[in-house]
């Protein structure tokens, strides 16, 4: 039985027409269905399919024809009403995969959504983040280039609603075992982290995972949360949440050293916490007070957290491996080096790891230049040209505009490795290799051949280049960490268990063992 509906002057977009056609065709008892504009050729097509009649003939090219052939009157009727339902402007047409265009329509699709993950360009981000908060969503704001004023406005709006704004410029969080943004697959456990640094979370969490421990939650606060203007709003809310969280026994706070006012404010608020707080203001030493202890490096922070959880005193050795082994490894790395080779060239994808390396290298090697230096006087004139001991954050603005982040795209780093290999003053190339969600699928495949080439290049100049790296990752990460280690090692890379140890080892090699005294103290073993 045939049924023809003609909608005069009907303008539905093609997607709607197709949905109607598909859905009606699938109805039980419908042998064929067509939804077509009544152009001469389509009318002929319909006639050939059995849909004839004066209404078809009279229809013009701007009219819509819905033609249904069905087994029975009932089926026809129900399919006709289905069509009318779908075409009536009131219904939102359902399909297998709707892609909403706005946050509002997304919330309609998922009314119990509780988090918005926002990574759109900075100048639009605040507006959307505010929309999200107003819709009752917590916000993970990956976007950068959001002004401090906007950040404050967002965080105050969040506070009023008891919601969390992680960011702006937040690369990592781990909430309830779920990695947001860039992050590693780590065990669930009792160490909580609040951090202004994404890679900081990655280093600490992977080190803990390596010891069999785990993370309850890692709350990214965004890089500017502890600035004087923002005053640590998310940091304090994060600490409060972890305080309340039954699964958390220890809290680790990570950031570059904040200004004194904010530092005092945050630490005072945190002192009310009943749980031990490990404060890692990178580079800031200090005794801490009461339940607050200070960790100088990320590795220290992980060790102290581990100490608390395991009820043992945290280790303080400069290397996991024995002194004799480390010294002899360093010796073999520096043998074959010419007298001109003096310096370390650190090429980093993680800004915090770059910073941590400088914190470690400066007391050992003297001034370290950088595009993200410890002190303004050590800023490189041109980030593309190394000088003396240099650590480059290749994830910073000047390298990243219009390109993917160096954790994903290794091309700039590869070029730079070769460049440093050509420099007669380079003794050690120091790298971070960050695995996990968001990162490159196979960093070792990217780096391996380049490192082999780099060593060859230097070799033809009569120089032996040492390449030292640490892998930030776990066994559960999507990249196969054991394979990564194997491939890198066979390319001649010396792998250290942490970024801090990699930096120390690099110093040992570049100084031809001279910094051994500072590292190991005067005693042997």
């Amino acid at each position: 039985m045939f049924k023809i509906i003609v909608e005069k002057g009907n303008y539905r977009d093609s997607v709607t027409l197709m949905k109607v056609s598909n859905e009606v065709s699938k109805l039980k008892g419908v042998s064929q269905a067509a939804v077509l504009m009544a152009t001469p050729l389509n009318k002929r097509f319909l006639a050939d399919a059995g849909f004839k009649g004066s209404e078809v003939e009279k229809a013009g090219p701007d009219d819509l024809i819905i033609a249904i052939e069905a087994a029975s009157e009932e089926v026809l009727e129900s399919s006709v009403s289905r069509v009318e339902e779908m075409l009536s402007s009131r219904e939102s047409v359902e399909a297998e995969e709707i892609r909403p265009r706005t946050l509002t329509s997304a919330v309609k699709l998922m009314p119990d959504a509780n988090l918005a993950l926002i990574s759109i360009p900075g100048r639009f981000a605040k507006r959307e983040a505010m929309n999200a908060l107003e819709s009752g969503l917590n916000v993970f704001l990956f976007s950068s280039n959001v002004s401090r004023e906007d950040e404050v406005e967002l965080k105050e709006a969040a506070k009023a609603r008891r919601l969390l704004v992680m960011g702006p410029d937040c690369g990592t969080s781990i909430i309830n075992g779920v990695v947001l943004g860039f992050g590693n697959v780590v065990r669930r456990g009792s160490v909580g982290i609040v951090s202004a640094s994404g890679t900081g979370i990655q280093q600490v969490s992977t080190l803990l995972d390596g010891e069999g421990l785990g993370i309850s939650h890692a709350i990214g606060t965004g890089g500017n949360d502890l600035s004087e203007k923002v005053g640590g709003m998310t940091t304090m809310e994060g600490i409060r949440l972890l305080e309340e969280d039954e699964g958390t026994r220890v809290i680790v706070l990570i950031s570059k050293p904040p200004g004194p006012k904010t530092s005092t404010k945050v630490l005072n608020a945190a002192s009310r916490s009943s749980k031990p707080l490990i404060v890692n203001f990178l580079g800031e030493a200090g005794a801490g007070s009461g339940k607050q202890v200070k960790a100088v490096t990320l590795e220290d922070a992980a060790r102290m957290a581990s100490g608390f959880v395991k009820g043992k005193k945290a280790g303080t050795r400069p290397f996991s491996d024995s002194q004799s082994r480390v010294r002899s490894l360093a010796q073999s790395e520096s043998s074959g080096m010419s007298g001109t080779q003096k310096y370390i060239r650190g090429l980093y994808s993680g800004g915090t790891l770059c910073y941590e390396s400088q914190v470690i290298l400066a007391p050992l090697m003297g001034e370290v230049f950088s595009n993200a230096p410890l002190r303004p006087e050590s800023r490189l004139e041109d980030a593309n040209i190394s000088r003396g001991n240099t650590c480059i954050d290749m994830g910073s603005e000047e390298f990243v505009v219009g390109r993917p982040h160096p954790m994903i795209d290794y091309s700039l780093r590869k070029n730079r490795i070769l460049k440093e290999a050509r420099d007669t003053e380079t003794a050690v190339v120091l790298l971070d290799v960050v695995l996990g969600y968001g990162s490159n699928e196979d960093p070792a495949k990217e780096l391996g051949p380049t490192i082999v080439s780099a060593k060859k290049l230097a070799g033809t100049g009569g120089r032996h280049i040492s390449v030292v790296a640490s892998i930030v990752g776990t066994r559960e990460d999507p990249q196969d960490i054991q394979k990564q280690a194997k491939v890198l090692a066979s390319a001649g890379v010396v792998l250290m268990p942490s970024n801090a140890q990699a930096a120390r080892f690099a110093a040992l090699v570049a100084s031809r063992g001279a910094v051994g005294r500072k590292l190991f103290g005067d005693g042997k073993r």
């Binding site: 909403p100 997304a106 918005a116 990574s119 759109i120 990956f142 779920v178 990695v179 947001l180 939650h217």
Partner: protein, 62 residues
Amino acid sequence: MEKDREPEKRSILKRKLKVINLGIEIFADDLKKQGVEVVGVDWQPPAGGDEELLRLLEKLGA
């Protein structure tokens, strides 16, 4: 705009994450790999990215 729905008493740390992703699709993909429910928004800059028009829209409360 649905303003200020009933404030959820429990913090985000206690709840199963249900995410709306605006922007880079890789983040949504990675969440799906972790078994998280995600709705991806086909985000386009409002007003075609035109700054002035955008400001006008904001003034209108759109």
